[in-house]
Amino acid sequence: MPVSVVFDHVAKTYAGARGEVRALDGVAFNIEQGEFFGLLGPNGAGKTTLISVLAGLTRATRGHVTVMGHDVVADYAAARKSIGVVPQELVFDPFFSVRECLRIQSGYFGIRHNEAWIDELLTGLGLADKGDVNMRQLSGGMKRRVLVAQALVHKPPVIVLDEPTAGVDVELRQTLWGFIAGLNKQGHTVLLTTHYLEEAEALCGRIAMLKQGRVVALDRTANLLAGTASTMLRFKTDQALPAAVAARARVTGRMVQVTARDAAEVETLLGQLRLGGVKVEDLEIGRADLEDVFLEIMQRETLA
């Protein structure tokens, strides 16, 4: 499969108040053409910095990035024509209507007559009746849709979505994912960062996890789910957990979730709870999801 994006040992350091901050520390992986690729990591892991380097908004301190074979620094014009970026921040130009914004963005890419595609974008993203409305008059969700449309005006082969569904309603998520999945089926590569891990699990064929600027996991989503703790023990309790269980448990109010590698480990956990005299309610044993995998990997990395 041809490669669409190459991150070749990308490092980025900033001068921070307390000395040098290493935002990216030798990130190296490829994204193949037509992939739906997920980039996950906690806040401050370096996801947005990596995307900024890819988009030419930030310059890498070391390493190289290419998009469709074009270096993002040396051959920036061709590289930027190859990617469409939906920024994380909800930004807009208050002077213009939705259609004007899309025409202007098309023009920046040298496209003068783009009405047919603009109409398709407006319809596909549920903005058909908003074309002549000024950006200031749109709701947050509608502005987010325009951001997506702006990133796609030049039909880029690589689409980058930086937390596109942060704080948006279910309807927009469904509209957006339907539209993006359609583009992915047509061969567009998609790179997605999100905090909604169920979205990444449902959409992404492959996932890289970043922590403190380093790739700590990189595999097919199915392999990540199978390779780590695949069983999840869920229960409710009002009592304090034994130390051995507490160290690996995720507690939300009364709800406790603990991952286990296999049935024997589940038995061990239940034994520890019994010995600790913990009264357990609503016990469930199920398959671990990506969120569990994510937390396990992040926890492992912290301990390492």
Partner: protein, 253 residues
Amino acid sequence: MRFAGARTLFNKEILRFWKVSVQTVAAPVLTAVLYLLIFGHVLEDHVQVFPGVGYTSFLIPGLVMMSVLQNAYANSSSSLIQSKVTGNLVFLLLTPLSHWAWFAAYVGASVVRGLAVGLGVFAVTVWFAPPHFAEPWWIVIFAVLGAGMLGTLGLIAGLWAEKFDQTAAFQNFLIMPMTFLSGVFYSVQSLPAFWLGLSHANPFFYMIDGFRRGFFGASDVSPWLSLAVVGASFAGVSAIALRLLATGYKIRS
């Protein structure tokens, strides 16, 4: 096709100020007219700079040029700082536009705004004193070069500034004093020797003196000297602006 991106940015910048033309064109015209009414009324019978030229006639080209310069500066500086503060500059940063395209579009649109306001001021003030066009080519040359230079300074200020008040400070502490001390309201020949010497170190003086030459065929210094100074100053600030754009100064981290 090759220049389509730059042309789009140029058109967008023009559309941006035109959509709020009451604030960006009509208001500065009104300000200039108020200057003319007040200074013209007070000084008409007391000051004659060139033989046979009344003070109001003398003042009009200065006011026109001052409006051209200030509005050219305001256009690029306010557009850039607004885009930076609101974050929508990212739409431009993500495009394949070169630093030459950014420069041409921002400075070009600033020239258009400067000239639009200048024409507005002229169209209104012309009723106060009949115009002279002794050497009109100098009018066009110095209006375009002056607007270009101030549009470029606005571009530099917009790139440098991180807050609105920083572009305003650039305007209030640099652009405004240099404009007012350049002979808009008087001939620098009437100044004491020290201030006359200082005026000759101010590139804005050459813009206004050269511009006025086009109206009256008379000027404090040769228009060719003014052209050389203004041309060299414009080239210098352009080189700085292009370098800042090429390196992504304060816009790409």
